[in-house]
């Protein structure tokens, strides 16, 4: 938002926006932060940083617009710019190699599983959570935004700073990868098909 579009709010109005439009999303924000960091203390820090930034930049927010998407965008950027650099989590794989593989057509052609609906419905433990957590952060994020938080393509595009077409293809690939992970768990659980 340009300088000209910035809103002018009184302190009372700012607090009202903060309490009525921002804070109601804190459970979703915390859950998102936890799914990104896998650590409760880091999630608290990330959520707190996000809310403080939201307050500092509140003049960029227009009342009545999509506060949840605005907050998620700040949290995602904070995670990438501030948190990820500090993260002690080692890079497990060569990221370039992973990206080029996932962006190729191969990923759609080669991922086939014989996973059954009944097998998925029998997964009452942590299998789905573990499978989601095992996905690369970019794929994990689109699943969370779409399936857990119910964001639309255009909202996800804004949150992630990517074109809508990329949101759609990333979601499609993320779903395939998730199925592949679940299929692996199903085999470990003793389901043969």
């Amino acid at each position: 938002m340009s300088e000209k579009q910035r809103k002018s709010y009184s302190r009372k109005e700012k607090e009202l926006i903060f309490d009525t439009e921002f804070l109601p999303h804190i459970d979703s924000m915390y859950n998102f932060a936890y799914r990104l960091t896998f650590d409760e203390d880091d999630s608290k820090d990330l959520v707190q940083d996000t809310y403080l930034k939201a307050y500092r930049f509140i003049t960029s927010f227009e009342r009545g617009t999509n506060a949840k998407a605005w907050l998620f965008r700040i949290l995602k950027n904070s995670f990438i710019n501030d948190f990820r650099k500090k993260s002690k989590e080692p890079s497990k794989v060569d990221y370039q190699e992973v990206e080029s593989y996932y962006n190729s057509d191969e990923v759609d052609k080669t991922i086939t599983t014989d996973l059954r609906v009944e097998t998925v419905q029998d997964m009452i433990g942590d299998e789905i959570s573990n499978a989601l957590n095992a996905l690369d952060v970019d794929f994990r994020t689109v699943i969370i935004l779409c399936d857990l938080e119910g964001f639309k393509y255009d909202e996800m595009a804004k949150i992630l700073d990517i074109p809508i077409g990329t949101v759609r293809s990333r979601l499609h690939r993320a779903r395939n990868l998730l199925k592949e992970k679940l299929s692996g768990y199903a085999k470990k659980m003793g389901y043969n098909n």
């Binding site: 700012k14 915390y30 859950n31 307050y55 996973l115 059954r116 609906v117 789905i128 699943i143 098909n193």
Partner: protein
């Protein structure tokens, strides 16, 4: 039920179209008309029916199992206190 990525073995364009529609429905991005059209398509396309059933089962499981994290006690108060400090 088995998941198979091949929706229609004979019709490449048809396969692309129904996969596209399936993804729109799955991502809650389909219009009412598209949803209705997909519902009709499912009655005559077993591979799509199976893929859709599996994808929806996974989506439902994610919604049930992956949103249990609630904000720790005291965090809201701590954030509010810091915001008031900024405002002053």
């Amino acid at each position: 039920m088995r998941y198979n990525s091949t929706v229609s073995e004979n019709d490449q364009n048809g396969k692309t179209d129904c996969l596209e529609l399936l993804n729109l429905v799955l991502d809650s991005a389909a219009s009412e008309e598209e949803k209705e059209s997909f519902k009709e398509h499912l009655k005559q396309c077993m591979p799509c029916y199976e893929k859709y059933s599996l994808d929806m089962a996974i989506k439902k499981l994610i919604q049930e199992k992956c949103c249990g994290k609630h904000v720790p006690e005291g965090l809201v108060a701590s954030i509010r206190a810091k915001v008031i400090h900024i405002a002053e």
